[in-house]
Amino acid sequence: MSIASTAVVGISLLAGCAAPPKGVEQAAAGASGNAEAASEIKIGLVTQLSGGGALYGKQMEHGAQLAVDEINEAGGVLGKKLKLIAQDDQANPSESVKVTQRLVTEDRIDAWMGTLKSSDTMTDLTITSKQNIPSFVPIAVADKITELGYSNVFRNVSNNTMQVKALVDYILKSQPHKHVAIISENTDYGRGLSEAFTKAFTEGGGQVVNTEYYNVGQKEFSDQLTKIKAKQPDAIVISGLVAEGALIAKQAQDIGLKTQLYSYGGFMGSAPIKLGGQAVEGLIHSEYFTPVKGDKKIEAFVDAYQKKYGEIPDSYYSAATYDAVYLYAEGVKKAGSAEGAKVNDSLRAIKDFAGVMGGVSFDEKGQASTKVWIGQIKDGKQEVIYRPE
């Protein structure tokens, strides 16, 4: 891949989202001609649209925009059109608060959605909860987000604990590995995952033979892996993200450590295959969404997405925001109004909503009962090997 072609792809991506599809533009213009604000229901999206994580932020925006367009083409909600207002927070906490504040006070949004980071999401929610604005958390997975006591927060993706539990259940039920070693990122995220794993796995009759730590940005893992190798585990669980995870897989191979690898959501999509190559072959990880064949709802979403943006949504970033917009529309429909408090109540009453990521029912804290899938990297491709229901 040359720099030139990367730049071209980047520019065409930018151009793609800068220009809204014509149909929407006309519809919006036609509507605003008569009775301005009342004819629109505004959804604010806060995510990273520039810099390193922009790739994921753009996918969030695309998924949400696709759902908004589909709903509007079908006549909108309660006779009103939906409008998505996407704002760039640069994955920076102060910027995130700033744009959320602006969406609330200037754009007067009816619903909020974001972000890529759990910490930013939590600070943004302090603003939207004051106005009781229905707020969707489609991407961030820290347990704490739904434990803050807000009645306007809805997360339509599984949290970390659910993720760990699904992986542990799968290993104990479907795999022969009973003695595993953990190599964990030395952060809240990594330590949280490995503690939850150790607890669940031990209770289920398995054994964690040792846990080694590494720092974010570390590149050398031979020492941790040598130590793990001496304990002769059946499998290794990587409690971290793909940048380090891919190197861990490679370096395990280098020192002749050949065991089954497990990991979490960081290994979704195409990045692990690009960074890990042969070394991540066979790795099993928890997964929220993969464009599988044979599910009508998913196929329709993938087709529409590909038609509109020219790429396949290979991870949950776009699927989760797509579902969130539909969930919100459903909530407004049931409430018979876009008024925050009413929509919050009707959202909490939703039972078994059929989204592309699976059935959604919210508990009283706003955490959806979504299921975690299990994926595996096979022949350089992501495959779903276990899907509940």
Binding site: G52, L55, T226, K227, A230
Partner: protein, 290 residues
């Protein structure tokens, strides 16, 4: 037993790499009295040079050799723009300038290559060698071999050539050296370019093992400083031996004390050296630089 042997082998393999980067850093300190905080970024440049060349059809070994030249040229430009104009001002100004160079190069790389990690393909990737139950990847063997050869060549260059004698004289006492007709400015220029180019090769060598991204240089700079302080600032043999020592400490600490505190232990050693033997553990007489 084989665990200990493997840990030692891991440590020495990483250590030779530290030696090579620290060698560049110590050479530059020796003649310019500059603590170059952009040293790791020159390794990053070497890595991205290798990436660019390999993606454009150049074979990996050739790309490694060319990365020496690319890093050298960029080093030359950086010296001309950021260090040379400050040659007459206080040393701290040049040091601050090196921090600016570091930030500039990181951001430039982000702009040109994106902040995401990228893979450089090497024909040796994924292949390893097993001797008596100890494993080492072939790419690491290449790193060790090239690093040792470059360290050896640099040592001989300094000890046995006219240029080397000039470098040593300029580093020991620039004023006297100038009086004896040694062109110290030119010598310092050339030494800087050599130091940067050596580090560039280190970057190209580690690219297939560690992947490359714009921020990769930061941790390399700090490790190189640990090595250089341990071996004595400006001491070439100190940098080479110091690299191996730091590699060993790091891997034994990770293997037998705590992997979570691995870096803390390495920097703890740096702290102790600074308190009890600030001239470096390998320097006998102060002033015996380069």
């Amino acid at each position: 037993m084989s665990e200990l042997a493997q840990t030692i082998v891991n440590g020495l393999a990483v250590g030779t790499l530290y030696s090579l980067i620290a060698l560049g850093l110590t050479l530059i300190y020796g003649v310019m009295n500059l603590s170059n905080f952009a040293q790791g970024e020159f390794a990053m440049i070497g890595g991205f040079a290798a990436l660019y060349l390999v993606n454009h059809g150049v074979s990996y070994p050739v790309a490694v050799i060319l990365s020496f030249g690319v890093a050298g040229i960029i080093g030359f430009i950086v010296h001309l723009l950021a260090y040379h104009p400050l040659r007459k001002s206080e040393h701290i100004n040049m040091m601050l300038s090196s921090l600016g160079v570091s930030l500039f190069l990181v951001n430039l790389a982000q702009y040109l290559f994106s902040p995401n990690p990228q893979v450089v393909d090497s024909p040796l990737a994924g292949r390893n060698l097993e001797v008596f139950g100890i494993f080492i990847s072939q790419q690491r063997i290449l790193i060790v071999a090239v690093s040792l050869v470059l360290c050896g060549l640099t040592y001989m260059l300094l000890e046995y050539t006219r240029f080397g004698r000039a470098v040593r004289a300029a580093s020991l006492d620039p004023d006297t050296a100038t009086l004896y007709g040694i062109p110290t400015r030119r010598i310092s220029f050339m030494t800087f370019v050599l130091g940067v180019a050596l580090t560039g090769v280190a970057g190209a060598l580690i690219a297939p093992v560690y992947n490359i991204y714009p921020y990769m240089g930061v941790s390399l700079t700090t490790k190189a400083f640990v090595v250089v302080v341990l071996g004595g600032m400006g001491n070439v043999v100190g940098a080479i031996v110091g690299g191996l020592i730091v590699g060993l400490i790091e891997s034994l600490a990770g293997g037998y004390i705590s992997s979570g505190f691995q870096d803390a232990i390495v920097f703890g050693v740096l702290f102790l050296v600074l308190v009890f033997r600030p001239q470096g553990i390998l320097t006998k007489v102060q002033g015996e630089k380069v």
